[in-house]
Structures are given as structure tokens and as C-alpha cells.
Amino acid sequence: MSRAHGFLIALAVLWAAVVAGLALPQNEIRSEARYLQRQWGGLGLGAHAAAGSCWFVFDPRIEPYCPNFERPFSALPNFCPRHSTTVSRLPVLTADAREPRSQVLGKGAIETLPQPRSE
């Protein structure tokens, strides 16, 4: 058997190991995890272990966005060392983030808006 044959056989063996790895049962959701999450009403969503600095990436239900979006230079995207380097990049968690209530008005549109109620 030549070296080339040996190489091809070794490659086939490596890929057989890859397929075997993929076929192995992945670590399933454990009863402990379900129990604690039920007890706590759901805690934690992002790739952050301790919430020491950025609540947003730990769980956006607790803080809907990262304050570093605003500081120190408002209106510029700022670097948050905690959440910018993780495997999750969570969008701002508010109902009106995608469908905001506020909008830019076109010319003449102001007349068509409903008038505010007078108290």
C-alpha cells in the first residue's frame, strides 16, 4: 500500500469519527435545569455567566438594552466589553423596537393625526 492510499484511508477514518461524533446523543436538557428555571420564573438568556456588569446580555428581560449603547458618546455604537465578545448578540428587547409608536411624518401628515384628548 502506497503513502497516498494510506492518506486516503486515514481521511476516511477521520470522517467516520466525525460522523460518529455527530451521531452521539448531545447533552440533553437536564431535569435540574428545568426545575431551577421553573422555580425562578426563567433567569438568564445570553452568553454571560454572572451579570456582574451587563444585565442586558445576561437577561434582556431584566434590562431591555445595554446602557453602553448611550455612553459615553450618545448616538454612536459603543463597545461593551461584556456583551460584544460573546456568542449571542441580542436585539433590544422592547415591544416597540421593531414597530415603534413614533414615526417620521411626511408633509401635510400632521393634519391627519388624531387630536390629543383634552382632560
Partner: protein
């Protein structure tokens, strides 16, 4: 074709330096990519548990886009709704318990009806307990605490000595690791939040009831920030996309390394490659056959690099619990994590990595080879 495949393998074996440079150039970033993607998929799965086992609606006060504490009086008010099954107030806060060590203090009363399966040792406290807490496994290990030991929790409002009665299981989720779980009243006292909660968790009869109640609350009380399970599910899971976050950086690294590998194979080894092409042409090979041979060579290299990267990533994350690596992808984690790192290896990720490496390698090898193979033999030999 089998003959060409054999010749391609022979070429790789005869030029081990070139093949090794290519395999390392592609395999290194692919290892990071596969490991990161697996951890991301594992976290995404755990986030699903957090969402599905969590409340149907989270209610808190909104202070100009940021959360504010909500009066506990809302618990009684919300309980009256026909849609509601259960209402629980909760306090979530952080507290420094040692230098550079943060604990997440979670004040919520346990559901007594359930059998405590989430503990590694000790027991769970009672709802009316005044000074008992359960600790997350990493925090307990870091502070050297076991059931029965005492801990001083100091805030601006009070100093409180509590007894650790239980240590949470290591087999929970990532977010349990640094928790101090206390009864709600105890957390209120600790943070001076008399009559206040961080948020109120509502469990409703079903998803439709949750939507109706959320709509009704949003209309009746504009100060409230209301998050339904559906909203959280929709917004959070998209955060685990492979094209976002750190993966943008990893793609960039992959491409940069690919360019390096490309330089090695097309620039540094160009003289050698030209000689090979000229020799093959002299033997009567057509340009098409030469291109097929070179592309098969690149394919074998990429197959080798991706298989090795996958196997290394799999072993590193699943067998060794991702030391030195998990903390690159998960914030505030030790280099040697004390908890089981969630990971899910996926054939799709492997295929994506293989595809990217193939695209780079083919682009790097086929173009210079084609340029050499298309000129007359005399020119190539010059």
C-alpha cells in the same frame, strides 16, 4: 476521476510542508468557529428552557426605556384577573461578595409543591425563612462555602448574616453558577426594597390569555413594561444567529488566515507549482485535467482540515469542558469553568466551515494554476 484523486493524494503526501501549512491555516480558525458555534447552539437550547419554563408575562415599571422597580401591590391587583393562574414577585440584583466576585442575588419564594431536584448538596430553604440561602456551584466553590457555613451579605441598607443551606447543581444552566437564591422577603430587606419588586411574573391559563392580559395591561397602565413569552422567544433566539456577534470576527479571522494560506500555496509555492504544471503539460495533460487535479488536492486538504478541527473542537468542549476557550465566548467565566458548558455540535456548522474553507482554497489555487496552465509550455518553463 479515482486516478486523479489518487494523484492528488500523492501530491499532498509528496509536499507535506505545503499541505501542512494549508491544513493549519484553515484548521485553526475552523476549530474556533466550530467550538464557538457549538457553544452558541448549546446556550440557545438552554435559553429555550429559560423561556419555556419561565413566566408567561413579565411586568415591571418603565423609566424612559430602562426598567424600574414595581410596587408589590400590583401582585394582588393582577391576581384578580380571570386570565391569571399564578403571580409571583421577584427581586434580581447584584452584589459584590468578594473582590472581583459578583453574585446575582435572586429573591423569589420557592414553589413548595415541586420536589427539589436542582440541588447538588444540602436542602432548599422555606419561603418564610429569615436567613437561609442556596448558592450557585461556582460561587460556592470560589468562596469555599458548603451547606451549614455562614456568609455576611452587606449592602448600603443592611448587614445580614445568612446560612448556606444548599448548593445548586452543576448540571443546571450557565446562569445558575453565581446565584445567591434567597426568599423574596429576605431580598427585599437586603436591598431596602420594602413594598417593591424588580419584576412580577405572571403565569396565565394559556398563550391567548397571556396576549389578552398583556394588551389589557398595556392599555390600562402605560407606566408598565410588559414582556410576553412570545416576545422574548422571538427577540432572543435571533440573537444566537451564527452570523452575528463574535462570529463576524471569527469569519474575518478565517478569511485572513485563508489569505495567508493562499499566499503560501499560490505565492510561496508558486515556483514549485509552475514546475509541476509545466511537467504535466509536457506529459500531455490538458489544462482541464490539471485544474481538476489541483482542485481535488485542495478538496482533500479542506476535508482533512475540517475533520481535524471538528474532532479537536468536539474533544475540547465535550470531554474537557472547554478550558481557556469558553471564556472567549461567554462573559464573566473563568478560564477553567466550574460548570458544564452547554454545547450542541451540528452537521450544518461543519458543512458551513467546510464550504468557506473550500471557497477560499479553490480561489487561491485554481486562478494561478489556470493562468499557468493556459500559456504555452515554452513560456511556462522559462
Amino acid at each position: 476521476m479515482p486516478k486523479l484523486l489518487f494523484l492528488a493524494a500523492l501530491n499532498l503526501v509528496k509536499n507535506p510542508g505545503r499541505a501542512l501549512a494549508l491544513v493549519l491555516g484553515i484548521g485553526g480558525p475552523l476549530f474556533l468557529f466550530i467550538a464557538g458555534a457549538a457553544i452558541s447552539a448549546g446556550l440557545s437550547r438552554d435559553a429555550t428552557v429559560s423561556i419555556e419554563s419561565g413566566a408567561d408575562i413579565y411586568v415591571t415599571f418603565d423609566r424612559g426605556g430602562l426598567d424600574a422597580n414595581i410596587p408589590v401591590s400590583y401582585v394582588e391587583e393582577l391576581s384578580k384577573s380571570q386570565f391569571v393562574v399564578e403571580v409571583r414577585p421577584r427581586i434580581v440584583a447584584r452584589l459584590a461578595v468578594a473582590p472581583e466576585t459578583w453574585a446575582l442575588v435572586l429573591g423569589i419564594d420557592p414553589i413548595a409543591a415541586e420536589e427539589a431536584t436542582g440541588l447538588q448538596s444540602g436542602r432548599l430553604f422555606e419561603s418564610n425563612s429569615k436567613n437561609e440561602v442556596a448558592l450557585g456551584p461556582v460561587l460556592a466553590q470560589r468562596l469555599g462555602l458548603t451547606p451549614g457555613k455562614q456568609l455576611l451579605l452587606a449592602t448600603a441598607f443592611t448587614h445580614k448574616v445568612v446560612t448556606v443551606v444548599g448548593i445548586l447543581s452543576r448540571k443546571g444552566t450557565l446562569w445558575d453558577s453565581a446565584v445567591i437564591w434567597a426568599p423574596f422577603a429576605q431580598a427585599q430587606e437586603l436591598f431596602g426594597m420594602r413594598d417593591l419588586a424588580t419584576d412580577i411574573l405572571i403565569r396565565t391559563r394559556d398563550e391567548i390569555s397571556a396576549t389578552r392580559l398583556a394588551d389589557r395591561l398595556a392599555r390600562s397602565e402605560p407606566r408598565l413594561r410588559i414582556q410576553t413569552r412570545g416576545l422574548v422567544r422571538r427577540y432572543v433566539l435571533q440573537g444566537y444567529g451564527v452570523t452575528s456577534g463574535v462570529f463576524s470576527a471569527i469569519y474575518a479571522v478565517t478569511f485572513a488566515s485563508g489569505v495567508l494560506a493562499l499566499l503560501v500555496i499560490s505565492g510561496l509555492g508558486s515556483k514549485e507549482r509552475r514546475r509541476e504544471v509545466a511537467l504535466l503539460k509536457a506529459l500531455g495533460w490538458s489544462a482541464r485535467h490539471i485544474l481538476v487535479l489541483v482542485s481535488l488536492e485542495a478538496l482533500l486538504c479542506c476535508l482533512l482540515a475540517s475533520a481535524l478541527s471538528f474532532l479537536f473542537a468536539f474533544a475540547w468542549v465535550r470531554l474537557f469542558n472547554a478550558p481557556l476557550l469558553a471564556s472567549l465566548f461567554i462573559a464573566e467565566l473563568d478560564w477553567f469553568p466550574g460548570i458544564e458548558i452547554p454545547a450542541q455540535f451540528d452537521a450544518g456548522i461543519l458543512a458551513l466551515g467546510l464550504g468557506v474553507s473550500l471557497a477560499i482554497t479553490w480561489a487561491g489555487t485554481l486562478i494561478p494554476t489556470w493562468r499557468t496552465a493556459c500559456v504555452p509550455l515554452r513560456e511556462t518553463l522559462r
